[in-house]
Subunit: 330 residues, 2 copies
């Protein structure tokens, strides 16, 4: 633990829509706030490192590139290298705002899975104003799931909700299309039965629906990676849509613009609570190491938050706690 | 056609959160606007019919009741009776804001399916400010689907987008977790291949993601009923969440309240465009008759809109056009 605490966070300096500028600036911010960070990327693409250490590599897996192929072919890419730094005990955690699939693949192939974990999953914070976020899992790693996989996701996400969000004994719900256990696909119904029967480390409170995802009554919401990804992106898109609508209203005429001047600071503060920028990104649970997947649009603030969270969770021994939470093999 | 035009719309007077008050008021409104309506329900529960004809029945399938069981056991329920009125050529269409599952079951069991339709599906309008709504299909009728079912949904929804929303040659997309044909579940990938290969009556433009559902670039979005229902409710819940957030901001202090007084009428006008109240409800496509499923929270305005739409679509011969659109049996 002591040794791990001193290890830097390995950051993919060239991943993300705003790389390298905002990425490196975020690293500088986190470093200034006391977290050791090491950048990884091709020096000519990273440019100014703002005084931070750069471990050079020669390749980059681009945003639109096929994840598995990218990781297989580009062995000297920033994503593969940051995963290897964690595997080799030279970094405490990896962080990337780049190609999500490739980040997962690099983490999985280089770090490996935790013992007994059938499939790693992505846990994404869902904002709850005035309270710690809920956790949506799986938000995109596994498009086809079994009930046993969802049970493991529930176990890991419960640990994560405690470690990351400070929620003791988190309440776990299953995403479905009605509260009744009879509602949903066979996957949902079978998983409901397993969770209802009792799973170590999971306090199951039943089904929630899509309408509950924002301001969620449950601390953990479990679903397959296809449904989770559709729901997450629907929520993101709807929030953006609503925000544009409000901004259109503010710009309607001189009177509304004046009123908007009064309201805008308050609206922006409220919106900031919902912004992926401030949630620090999603986490890949179930690999043998800490891997934070930041939003592709991450700015310096988001990157700095992600680095802090990765560092804190690695120091808190998240992986060990996740491994201990898994009671069954798929 | 001429005879059908004179037939009334059969309305479940006791279905919906605000039944019978708002339901009967909505019927009165539609009747005043020129649409013949007949109410169906137990007289003692309906109360004042506001001068409209009431066909009495003795039973009600309650909101929380098991749909299939309800329809099987309660043969003299309002839902079963309105479906029979359409089947027997005594009504042009059925409308209910009650138990969605039971509405589907009653329509399916009493009206039957259109020729060659494997499974009826629910088409729900998704608002697009300043443009006719997009259509999300299936938004909840079939939790487990085959590619062939999704292809039929696409065909029927394309007809519906033209008949209901006036969109000639509507663009159809598949809901997935990425634009690439390789993304998604095997159901999504196989359906993508079928649509890409060419399906009569469907202009396929590829995949859309959850983030595209509001203000959608496609006129028809096809998905299975589980994913569709989760996405629809996520969008609804997120809009409500955003609206509460804005209202909280407006109530922050005296200054924001004054600004709110200026903005509120504009905000409400913008919100009204998104309100299920004004979209007239969802439609069950693929049964042999017109069946409108209104939102459970429908007020008089929503009910009146639903009645208008049901009447207009029946008069336009929607069922015949849907039957003609289906090229394959499952």
């Amino acid at each position: 633990m002591e040794a791990l605490a001193a290890l830097p966070v390995a950051l993919d300096a060239v991943g993300g829509d705003k790389a390298p500028g905002e990425i490196v600036a975020g690293a500088r911010k986190a470093a200034d706030e006391g977290v050791p960070v090491v950048l990884v990327g091709p020096p000519e693409r990273v440019g100014d490192t703002l005084g931070l250490e750069l471990i050079p590599c020669t390749e980059v897996i681009e945003m639109a590139e096929d994840p598995a192929q990218g990781v297989r072919r580009k062995k000297d890419s920033s994503l593969v290298r940051i995963a290897e730094l964690v595997r080799d005990g030279r970094a405490s955690a990896m962080v990337s705002a780049g190609n999500t699939g490739a980040t997962m693949a690099a983490a999985l192939l280089r770090m490996g899975r935790l013992p007994k974990v059938a499939r790693p999953c992505i846990a994404t914070p869902m904002p709850r104003p005035g309270r710690p976020p809920a956790v949506l899992v799986d938000s995109g790693a596994n498009v086809e799931c079994t009930p046993a996989m969802l049970v493991q996701f529930a176990q890991m996400a419960s640990v994560f909700a405690t470690e990351r969000n400070g929620i003791a004994d988190p309440a776990t719900a299953l995403l479905s299309i009605g509260e009744e256990p009879s509602k949903g696909t066979s996957l949902v119904k079978e998983t409901h039965a397993l969770l209802e029967a009792g799973v170590p480390g999971v306090r199951f409170i039943g089904n929630v629906e899509g309408r509950d995802l924002l301001g969620c009554p449950a601390d953990v919401v479990v679903t397959d990676g296809f449904t989770g990804n559709v729901a997450l992106k629907t929520a993101e898109g709807t929030l953006r849509f609503a925000m544009r609508l409000v901004l259109d209203v503010l710009g309607h005429d001189d009177e509304t613009r004046a009123a908007g001047d009064v309201l805008l600071p308050h609206l922006l503060a409220a919106a900031a609570e919902l912004d992926p920028e401030n949630t620090g990104g999603a986490m890949l649970l179930g690999v043998d190491g800490v891997c934070v997947i930041s939003h592709g649009s991450s700015s310096a603030v988001a990157v700095a938050n992600a680095i802090h969270i990765a560092y804190d969770l690695a120091r808190a021994g998240l992986s060990g706690r996740l491994a201990a939470s898994i009671s069954a093999e798929d």
